[in-house]
């Protein structure tokens, strides 16, 4: 039986998730990494990805994370990101708007912003199963 540990997902405007979990999987430095109880001290870059949170009761919660950092220390893991949403909070309208903004930025030649927004939009669309 996997033991649990405190985990927090925080964005500048609010704490998106906070509670005891069994495992957290996210994308860092080109590969997926899973944190479980008692992880060695770790600081890493987080890429824009769909994060998998396994709760204490074994159920799974997904969240879209727009890049940031993860820190594991003293059996506590926290992810800080410029913005994040739980899969249940994602709204189709906002995501489609985000995607059109991304397309606009790309057509105006702002590749950096366009690609970033596009990745965020895609992660959310997959999570919330939004299609056109």
């Amino acid at each position: 039986m996997a033991s649990s540990f405190p985990f927090a997902l925080v964005s500048p405007e609010r704490v998106v998730f906070e509670g005891d979990v069994r495992a957290v999987t996210l994308r860092s430095g080109g590969g997926d990494i899973t944190f479980m109880a008692g992880h060695a001290p770790f600081i890493g870059l987080v890429e824009t990805c769909a994060m998998r949170i396994e709760l204490e009761d074994g159920s799974v919660s997904m969240a879209a994370v727009d890049g940031g950092f993860v820190r594991a220390a003293m059996n506590k893991v926290s992810v800080v990101t410029s913005s994040a949403e739980l899969a249940t909070e994602i709204e189709a309208e906002t995501v489609l708007h985000m995607r059109s903004e991304a397309e606009r930025a790309l057509s105006e030649g702002d590749e950096e912003l366009g690609n970033r927004l596009m990745r965020s939009a895609k992660v959310r669309m997959e999570l919330a199963e939004i299609s056109d």
Binding site: S11, S28, G29, I43
Partner: protein
């Protein structure tokens, strides 16, 4: 004539009282907004704490990898000054003090030989700099009512890009800090470069040191981390400025309401005196008229 004075005073009292109703309402609105702004500050605190924690760990682990955030390119170049004002007035000296401080800072920076670029936040900054014919590099409105992180990214994003390329050497922000409902201070904060001594002092204060593994590497993390850290600092300052604006407005409106109360009391006293005067005059006229009539009869009698 006396009736005219009374009418004017009555009109004045009425207008002062309706002004008082408005200022009183604004005072109450500001008071409730302060609470909301304070809760926004509280919501942002965990993020700031976590990111500061990561910065501390990074600083403590070993000597910092070379990066533009703590070791700027050296030569004096462009200084960016972010001036945070409100969009609306009626908040006492809130805006004028920021703008005065901005002018002073840009003068002293220019005197040192750096080129000053102003980033205006809020309509009051926009109007002021337009009037003074000072060129503003970027102007962002609609921030201090409810600052969002996206706005913080918008204000600082391009500045940070240029800073990382070495085209900007310092970034200052002039804003009101919110200490408590009763205390707000105008402060000039140097956002960039980040003081290495300060970071190291902070890092040594907290206890507990771990042997962190860094992914992909310390060198690769330091720039994006300081970038987010700087944005988090700006965002925190914007939230404080927002709370401070409402506190200033509440105080300004409170004293305006009190002043209206005082004025209406004074006018009422004048009105009462004017009314008494006119009554006295009328009585005097009647008495005088009666006396005159009586006097006339006396003369008739003698004849």
């Amino acid at each position: 004539m006396a009736g005219g004075q009374e009418r004017t005073l009555r009109r004045k009292i009425k207008s002062v009282q309706s002004t008082k109703k408005i200022t009183k309402a604004m005072e109450l609105i500001a008071a409730s907004r302060i609470q909301k702004a304070i809760s926004r500050m509280a919501n942002a605190r965990p993020y700031y704490r976590e990111i500061s924690e990561i910065v501390r760990d990074l600083v403590r682990a070993a000597s910092l990898p070379k990066n533009p955030y703590t070791e700027p390119s050296g030569s004096l170049g462009v200084s960016v000054v972010i001036s945070v004002t409100s969009d609306r007035g009626l908040c006492g000296i809130y805006n004028s003090s920021v703008l005065r401080a901005t002018e002073r800072l840009s003068e002293s920076l220019s005197a040192k030989g750096s080129k000053v670029e102003i980033v205006g936040v809020g309509k009051k900054a926009q109007n002021f700099f337009k009037f003074q014919e000072i060129k503003v590099a970027t102007q962002v409105n609609g921030v201090t009512e409810t600052p969002t992180y996206v706005q913080a990214m918008y204000i600082l994003g391009s500045v940070l890009d240029r800073y990382e390329r070495g085209e900007v050497s310092e970034v200052y922000i002039i804003s009101h800090r919110f200490v408590s409902i009763g205390v707000q201070n105008l402060e000039t904060t140097q956002l960039l470069p980040i003081s290495k001594e300060q970071l190291e002092a902070d890092a040594s204060k907290s206890s507990g040191s771990f042997d962190f593994e860094f992914e992909p590497s310390r060198e690769a993390i330091v720039v994006p981390l300081f970038r987010q850290f700087t944005l988090a600092r700006l965002f925190a300052l914007l939230l404080e400025a927002s709370a401070a604006e409402y506190a200033y407005r509440q105080r300004a409106m409170k004293s305006a309401s009190e002043n209206a109360e005082e004025l209406s009391r004074r006018y009422r006293r004048l009105l009462n005196r004017a009314r008494q005067d006119s009554i006295t005059t009328e009585i005097m006229e009647i008495v005088g008229g009666a006396e005159a009539l009586k006097g006339g009869e006396g003369l008739d009698d003698r004849d």
